[in-house]
């Protein structure tokens, strides 16, 4: 799988109406932003003059102008995004997904179920509601993966306490107990007690593993000492570490109900069109390609495809 091959085959020759719409909108946006800039300067200049001459009538009239221009510019962007978002996802993102994964189900306006997020026990607060988009379910080899961008909100539902990607994957071993691998920076000593008190875990304990590098990076909580070690074999611990180093983010993992969950913080809203660059801008598309490729890497690096164990 190579980005250049994908780009040459699916994107390069597309110079159609979609880019024309974006180009026109971009021109309108830039014109309005320019007008906003100059009208703001004019208002400031006039304000100074009217302060000197004590006549505010002109300023009261002119002060509306910058708001008009900035409002129009925002309106242009929002209308454009609404107009081209659906087509962008269908014509650019979907081919990318089909190129990278198998059996793709893509719902650009949907998000991963809140029940899965709660079940994962990965986020530090109770997820009351969540926002999000770009729900993707696919198969990579033998592994079934589903993921989406989420903004998790606590009890005051409008305030998000986590922004990022939530991934749920089928795991290649059977297990009955829960094991949670927290990035140490996201872990507090209170967390284990809280999980036990709330009934989310059943007498979970800290699992002391043999790998000192892994212990420096992660804190592991599990319900069953042997099963947690069965899941976190020495080679799997190394792969989790390698993946974490590669992503350069505070990645946390959990193993619940025979599923493998991963959360990765990410402030940027991915897979969205931009007005400032061409729809077919190679660098921009490559950013999204690499984001989606990181999911494939996850399956390969963590060896989730291997089914030599109990699972067929």
């Amino acid at each position: 799988m190579n980005f250049d091959d994908f780009y040459n085959e699916f994107i390069e020759n597309k110079h159609d109406e979609l880019e024309k719409i974006r180009f026109d909108a971009n021109r309108k946006y830039k014109a309005n932003m320019l007008a906003f800039k100059y009208s703001t300067i004019s208002v400031i200049a006039l304000s100074v003059l009217t302060l000197i001459y004590s006549d505010f009538t002109a300023v009261l009239f002119l002060v509306v102008m910058p708001f008009y221009f900035i409002g129009t510019a925002i309106g242009v962007v929002s209308r454009l995004k609404k107009h081209i978002k659906f087509r962008y996802k269908k014509e650019i993102i979907l081919p990318m997904l089909n190129y990278l994964y198998e059996d793709v189900k893509y719902k650009s306006y949907q998000k991963i179920s809140v029940n899965l997020i709660r079940k994962s026990l990965l986020l530090k607060k109770y997820v009351h509601t969540h926002k999000g988009d770009d729900y993707i379910k696919c198969r990579i080899g033998n592994a079934i993966i589903q993921f989406s961008e989420i903004e998790a909100c606590g009890t005051r539902s409008d305030i998000g306490f986590f922004n990022g990607v939530f991934i749920a994957a089928s795991f290649n071993k059977y297990f009955k107990s829960k094991t949670i691998v927290y990035d140490k920076r996201d872990y507090t000593n209170f967390k284990k007690s809280l999980l036990n008190l709330s009934g989310d875990t059943n007498e979970a304990e800290i699992i002391k593993l043999e790998d000192s590098v892994f212990n420096k990076k992660f804190k592991v909580i599990g319900e069953n000492q042997i099963e947690s070690r069965y899941i976190l074999s020495t080679s799997f611990m190394q792969r989790l570490l390698d993946y974490n180093n590669k992503m350069k983010k505070n990645v946390s993992f959990s193993f619940v109900d025979n599923k493998f969950f991963i959360v990765m913080p990410n402030a940027k809203n991915m897979l969205e069109p931009t007005i400032l660059k061409s729809i077919y801008d190679k660098e921009y598309i490559e950013l999204y390609y690499n984001y989606l490729l990181s999911i494939t890497d996850l399956v390969h690096n963590l060896d989730l495809n291997t089914r030599i164990w109990t699972k067929e």
């Binding site: 071993k173 043999e210 000492q225 042997i226 099963e227 069965y230 030599i308 164990w309 109990t310």
Partner: protein
């Protein structure tokens, strides 16, 4: 009350308080050591469970291999004999580990022999058996790792002061961690065999 009597009462009180505190600390240390010793025994029981599962697989392995490889009678007889010895309830822990290593070697020999019988290697029953064996090996490895963690914590606990005084009174001695034998490392690499 005279000053001398007052000092005497104060000294006796201090001695009593110190002894009382020492007794509480002693009880606390003793309980902690007992917990750690019991944890080691529990974790060893975890290994025994997995070993039992492995022994239970041997008759199946023998019957599947026998069907296709009748000329390998001696290897199959050896592993069956070792299994009978391992299931003897009177066997002590040291002999158990020794027998376990011998069984690992014998199973490795059986799996190596299978390489010479492609029809057997490709049969559904043998593939299912290998899958179960792989699973047991992974669980056995997890149990041994937990055992080693428990033993290391126990050994640390009985060797540091002041725990070592209580440990001496309780006749607690250091235990050995589970080391994977060289034969096991070489012979029971089922994953390698599967991929070959």
């Amino acid at each position: 009350m005279s000053v001398g009597l007052g000092i005497f009462v104060a000294i006796v009180s201090i001695i009593f308080i110190v002894l009382f505190l020492m007794a509480i600390i002693g009880v606390f240390i003793r309980n902690s050591l007992v917990r750690k010793r019991n944890e080691v025994e529990n974790t060893y029981a975890g290994i025994s469970v997995q070993l039992k599962k492995r022994y239970d697989l041997i008759p199946n392995l023998v019957s599947v291999v026998q069907k296709y490889a009748q000329h390998e009678k001696s290897i199959l007889e050896e592993i069956t004999k070792l299994r009978s010895q391992a299931l003897d309830k009177n066997i002590d822990n040291n002999n158990k580990v020794d027998l376990d290593n011998k069984i690992s070697k014998a199973m490795g020999n059986v799996l190596m022999t299978v390489e010479n019988y492609p029809i057997l290697k490709a049969s559904d029953s043998f593939i299912a058996l290998q899958r179960s064996l792989n699973e047991i090996e992974a669980q056995l490895s997890a149990s041994r790792r937990y055992f080693n963690t428990a033993v290391t914590e126990y050994n640390n606990a009985i060797q540091v002061a002041p725990n070592n005084f209580i440990a001496d009174i309780m006749h607690l001695t250091a235990k050995n961690v589970f080391e994977i034998s060289e034969t096991e490392k070489q012979n029971i690499d089922v994953k390698k065999l599967l991929n070959s």
